[in-house]
Symmetry: C2
Subunit: 227 residues, 2 copies
């Protein structure tokens, strides 16, 4: 009997990747006179991967990786005003309104009557707290956990902290690697709700058991009722 | 009877501000040919204050503010290689070894036998977790709370989460504004351990009651025993 639902935030409850994609498109346009879009994307992804160890996830690290990529792609000839544009892109991302995915407001409100809801989200503490506050959903959650990594140890610690048996817990999220596999690894349930755009780092094999995949969070209440 | 001690991390258990000061000195040197040191400091502080609302606290936001200041101080003529240097300064800060303040290792170990210890630290989640792990102190703490703001509501939430009565709690930290005043406001105890360098944002009036000031964390065990 499931009584606690963990929700991922970015790209599960609200749009996030689309904001990165939009900014990356502006980044490509800015550098279009010096390199082709595929090269720019590849160099940026390389920088992000190399920097993940020091920066972690989040918009500020993304902006620093864009700046670094712009400098290296242009052999140091990028004008400072273009780098200021990248900083401004980042601020626009950080201040962008939080856009809930279709159905999220109603489904979260309805589920809050019957289940204990915990928001379990990864990334920059300051940015995530700001998004949760602006989402209008905070009141429906019994707890909010902002974590730097979503691995089995993290989920175990969160469930222990809230005294939740893994058997009674289901995690709902868009990322196989972060929301599904580590949750299945500790014996809990997981529901995958894919997002239209998938981040290049997020590819992972999907196992066949203990989890379900749905197309929209709107399918979640009937699935949970039947499970 | 105090049974739980909250410790601040940056500049209470380990050096932090000195790393920012060192980097700011390198920043001044980099721009010495275009502006005088006082102007550079003032412009950087203005940028940091203006950006605090979007970036929060931490090294990545500091680097972005340095880049923005370098661009504006030079009217957009700063060479990209200098901005790459600022990015490199930031990475050096993020990877810098964690240096404990004198006496911290022994005092924390000793207090862990008699008190419940909670680390309550503000800033960037990823960076703070990395520092706690590298500090070698994590094993002595019953809990770690990384928060985006240290106000009375935050302390109240943390104490409630750990079922600690404010009467039985003392917070130990170097910042009057973050570690002392909000803690006294919820009826708990607070011990101020000033750090040699005080951040310009951190000036605040000190009240006269319910708190003590010590010169070193080494004075903490006798103070607690007598209190």
């Amino acid at each position: 009997m499931i009584d606690t639902i963990g929700f991922d935030g970015d790209d599960t409850l609200w749009h996030n990747e689309s904001l990165f994609s939009m900014t990356q498109e502006r980044f490509r346009t800015l550098l279009a006179h010096v390199a082709d879009p595929t090269d720019i994307d590849r160099r940026l992804l390389e920088a992000e991967r190399a920097n993940l160890r020091v920066y972690g996830y989040g918009i500020k690290g993304f902006v620093l990786s864009m700046i670094e990529t712009a400098i290296s792609v242009t052999d140091g000839h990028v004008p400072a005003r273009d780098l200021q544009s990248l900083i401004d892109f980042g601020k626009a991302m950080l201040e962008h309104p939080v856009e809930l995915l279709p159905g999220v407001a109603d489904v979260v409100e309805a589920l809050a009557y019957r289940y204990r809801l915990v928001l379990i989200t990864k990334g920059d503490l300051f940015d995530q707290e700001s998004k949760i506050a602006r989402s209008g959903l905070a009141g429906h959650f019994d707890a909010v956990e902002i974590v730097s990594e979503k691995d089995p140890a993290t989920y175990k610690r969160v469930l222990e902290r809230h005294a939740v048996d893994p058997e009674r817990f289901v995690m709902v999220g868009n990322s196989v690697r972060s929301d599904i596999l580590p949750v299945l690894a500790i014996g809990a349930h997981a529901v995958h709700v894919p997002y239209a755009i998938t981040w290049a780092h997020e590819d992972a094999d999907v196992p066949d058991d203990h989890y379900r995949r749905i197309d929209s969070v709107l399918d979640l209440p009937p699935l949970l009722a039947a499970w």
